[in-house]
Point group: C2
Chain length 144, copies 2
Amino acid sequence: MCENCVSLSPRGDKHAVEEGALLTPKFDASELITAVAVDAQDGQILMVAHMNQEALEKTLATGEAWYWSRSRGELWHKGDTSGQIQTVHDILVDCDQDCLILKVTVAGDGGCCHTGRRSCFYRRVETPAKGPAALVFIEQPRSS
Amino acid sequence: MCENCVSLSPRGDKHAVEEGALLTPKFDASELITAVAVDAQDGQILMVAHMNQEALEKTLATGEAWYWSRSRGELWHKGDTSGQIQTVHDILVDCDQDCLILKVTVAGDGGCCHTGRRSCFYRRVETPAKGPAALVFIEQPRSS
């Protein structure tokens, strides 16, 4: 698919996946892997999205974050429209290789969320003793 | 299901989901929501797992992290076997409410990963110019 790209390796047994030194990502039933984008400087979680194999290969090849947009059903070069390109400095993978962390710096206005916030995680859950769980805003949209 | 519990609210329209003050989680086709557990003190990402509605309700009701184990197909009170109970101090939710961050402190030996590491993200992806993407270990198992 990607002639001059970094390649992904086929899945081995449990030991190879957990203690091996090859990237053998596990794509789920929808052929996606979860990706958590965090700020490379302060570690704040900015967004959680998904990648298919092509998005992961493009991310590895270009050093910029590509995702699979589940809502639009298409490959998504983050920032193409908004200018919020994510330059990827490091990628971490978890034990069973079904999740990635991307350490990124964000171009444009430095934001990540389409609502105008830096992070998509701008609300905290309040848990009363009983009744509906409420949300408290911890970040407001930046004024444009 | 949970008589004296904090309740979840039904999904509203896009504006209600993104700018509203009620927790209206979006469960995927497998009836799961992604949950990222981070250390409440230093913010390190410890693990990424999934919750079904019951796991989320139990987490809200008990203040300890419950997940749905996809591999075992059962409700999973994290730490029941290992002692690594996760006390939940804060929960954040993202814009479309299909992902949660749990800020936790971990009991027992303070670890999270079944491989004996603190975090499941103990390997960094190395990207050569071409060829198989390799992994570099950034955390080793603690000696027991």
